[in-house]
Symmetry: C2
């Protein structure tokens, strides 16, 4: 264990704090189980009771956290000599406490109820391709979230404050810098790909692939990658996700009979998230040291496994025979063709969740830019559709013809989640940096992947990322793991090299 100061006997106040925090964690983890159940198992008409159960748990968790006792314990502990781990726990609890205590409960409830109304409004608007049906609630949510940010810190850019809900240890300017670099490289690269004459083997996996066989396929993939079934399970969910604790980290996927790679990469992606959760130390269950760092770090784990492992040529050298076992009709497909099919750039795709590894980030940049202007007041809700479409044209060379495939495609704004999207791209960028560092440390990862030997990679990630929980803040965590500051360089090198080769680009 790397602690700069030796572990000291913890003061009583620390034990008291831990006990309170653990109870809150248990309530939140219980809510996590209810959420999983709601998306995976619950019958259709279960919603009224489930909503009330989740609201109650959320209110209880709030009440437990804003308790005066916690404030007093934090005050006392901040004036006490603590070892580094204890200090990290106090730092993280303080952070959560401050955010929770500053926002009036009424406002929290109003956001929650507005978001409940927003969900059906968004669904209807999307189904009918009618943005005006969503606009009023979106407007209300923007307004409420600005108030929310103002309660937390009236002196700062409200978007910055909202961003911290998802990414408390990265500054917005740092995120912006990274996204700008990504955009500056990708926009011309995608343009060049559009001009390229190279024909990838995009139809390698065309056909119909029955769901139950795909289910066995993705279970085999999880076996190959080393998913511990005694601490997890795989189910189907309309929007795949991963959830749980180090004792029980579940993944979900979805199947489309025409797209076996979709299910496969979605599964590997969620597997990556689950590895992080599973790598947190058992004995820290319920404390910040047993909880994952921010969303960017979480996403770095999912993207690393999805893109750097799952979409690599080495993985297809390893996994193609398994694929062919399940789908003998693809017997003629070579590992190189599978690799190409897995990495084609979709030049005409409007939908973020169906995007490839390159265009994906421009979908993110567009949402990021629009969100910022919405929250700053520079953009009216009514003007979102046109701005959206203009940006798609500018960055991706395509213009959505409907709002359904435009600004209504994502659910997140109906949750009132502003500041969330950037974490996806930050995670990809971080994944590239971590993967490069892991390769530096453990040697030929490609060779190991080809052999189906993922132990060294798992160990490296656990040792350098997972086991720390929230011990370090994000930048420090990345620096300790890689020896360098968080940077977009590795990601840009990675995509330039990979797609340069695939599409025979001059810029590569």
């Amino acid at each position: 264990m790397s602690t700069e100061t030796p572990a000291t006997e913890a003061p009583d106040a620390y034990h008291d704090l831990l006990e309170k925090i653990q109870r809150i964690s248990n309530v939140q983890n219980a809510a996590g189980v209810l959420g999983w159940d709601q998306q995976v198992m619950m019958p259709d008409e279960g919603t009224p009771a489930r909503s009330k159960q989740l609201s109650a748990l959320s209110a209880i968790s709030h009440d437990l956290l804003v308790d005066d006792d916690i404030g007093d314990l934090l005050d006392e502990l901040e004036a006490t000599d603590l070892d580094d781990e204890q200090a990290a726990v106090v730092r993280e609890v303080r952070r959560g406490y401050e955010r929770e205590v500053r926002v009036p409960t009424d406002l929290v409830e109003e956001i929650s109820s507005t978001s409940s109304e927003a969900l059906p409004a968004w669904k209807e608007a999307k189904a009918e391709d009618d943005f005006s049906k969503f606009a009023p609630t979106l407007e209300k949510l923007v307004e409420l979230k600005k108030q929310y940010a103002e309660h937390i810190d009236p002196d700062r850019d409200p978007y910055e404050v909202l961003f911290e809900d998802f990414e408390p240890c990265l500054s917005l300017s740092q995120a912006e810098e990274i996204l700008d670099e990504v955009k500056a490289t990708l926009v011309p690269m995608i343009d060049e790909i559009r001009e390229s004459d190279v024909d990838l083997a995009v139809d390698a996996f065309e056909g119909t692939f029955p769901e139950d066989e795909q289910d066995e396929l993705v279970r085999d993939a999880l076996d190959v990658l080393g998913y511990p079934w005694e601490r997890g399970r795989l189910d189907v969910a309309p929007h795949p996700f991963s959830t749980g604790t180090m004792f029980d980290a579940r993944v979900t996927t979805r199947f489309d009979e025409s797209d076996p790679l979709g299910a496969l990469f979605s599964t590997v992606h969620e597997f990556g998230h689950a590895t992080y959760t599973l790598g947190l130390p058992d004995e820290q269950y319920g404390t910040p040291l047993g909880q994952s760092r921010d969303l960017s770090v979480h996403e770095s784990q999912s993207r690393l496994w999805e893109n750097h492992v799952g979409r690599s040529k080495a993985f297809w050298d390893l996994f193609l025979p398994t694929f062919t076992d399940h789908f003998p009709e693809t017997e003629g497909v070579s590992a190189q063709q599978a690799y190409e099919a897995a990495n084609q750039v979709y030049e005409d795709n409007f939908i973020r969740v169906e995007a490839d590894e390159l265009t994906y980030h421009l979908h993110i940049v567009i949402r990021f830019e629009i969100e910022r202007e919405l929250i700053s007041g520079d953009l009216d809700v009514a003007d979102v559709p046109e701005t959206w479409n203009d940006k798609y044209e500018e960055y991706l060379g395509i213009r959505p013809e409907t709002d359904t495939e435009g600004c209504l495609q994502d659910i997140h704004w109906s949750y009132g989640n502003f500041g969330y999207f950037p974490t996806y791209s930050l995670g990809s960028v971080m994944a590239a940096q971590l993967y490069a560092a892991a390769e530096d440390d453990v040697g030929d990862l490609d060779g190991q992947i080809r052999e189906g030997d993922f132990d060294a990679l798992h160990e490296w990630l656990t040792e350098n990322i997972h086991r720390h929980g929230q011990r370090y803040e994000t930048n420090e965590l990345v620096k300790q793991a890689t020896g360098e500051d968080f940077t977009a360089d590795y990601f840009l090198d990675y995509v330039t090299e990979k797609y340069g080769t695939l599409y025979d680009l001059d810029s590569a």
Copy 2:
């Protein structure tokens, strides 16, 4: 709605109380979801986190209930003019509050942790057929539960107090009277059956019945009986159970390839429980008026559907073709043979959960008698095995050769559940009375079952039992539904007639 006094505008204190009670219900229902997940979905190693989550919810629910505010609200409301429904809510909350507030938290926690230790001890003792491995924890649990009862009421028979945890509105003496009557009729009847020359078609369903086909069979049975899938689901659990709310009432079953009737009746039994939950009024979710009455009433619903419907000749007239569709190898079996196979009395069975409709109650009586003596101190834990075996010999004419198939077979004592078993028999007895009353009211139930028309029965049960929640106490509920006091007469008539005919008994 039958309220003797007109609904009055509820006082503020009533709304305040409801709000608090609903929050507690939500926490308990959340725990219910976690419990379901634990038994049905959770991966093996999820236990450490799940136990902590459940303990936290249980502690929170306790803290919320023993809150001084609730005591004050109850005091105020008891001195206020309330309508009948409001008064019922106050009565039920008071009952729960008093039990919770009188037992020190330390003792509750000690019972909970001792029971956690007891579970593995019981498992080991059962696996190794060594009662001495379970005896010390059992002794401790008996002692703790006696203390528990003393805190609640030091002046009463502690078993009486414990019984009220499961059956708060029936007196122990009433239960005892009913069980005595049941025993007095069944012991000689089973003896006579043992002497009978009648050969029932016990081998009608011998063979191997694959699990997935059984799964489809029991789903068909649920369809036929009218299970609303939009508010429920069926899964597999080692010990089948039903759980949930009126919005989401799930059932579980288990499969044994040699015993399709086992899965079928277990499913119908849990379906019966679920119908009760589903029949509670939606708008009373989270209040005592939206919660089921006691365990005997719950069990009356499961037994009614399992025995009076599922094990009837009429049901087999209806359902045999479906059975044969799934298992064409049983094509030669007639409805009468199926009926006989479903109702054979197992003369040599030691295991409660495998017992038939008759011997079942002697399994219960034996446990009831032993529990009472354990709690009164008239029986030492060390003497349980011998007493157990003696009673089996006396009542059932068989003597277990091991404790594994004797006093170690059931899990319940390791939970510290003393006073629970009688509710099973009380439920069967009540089922017979309710079924007879329903038949009186809605006419030829056999004919309706044969037609697959269960609407009138569902309606009668909902109207007379389900929709009341905890509006009435048990005896009043039974009396309102049937016009008579709770009595064993109908059950005794039912078994005398049914088994008299089946086994051609003189006594019939």
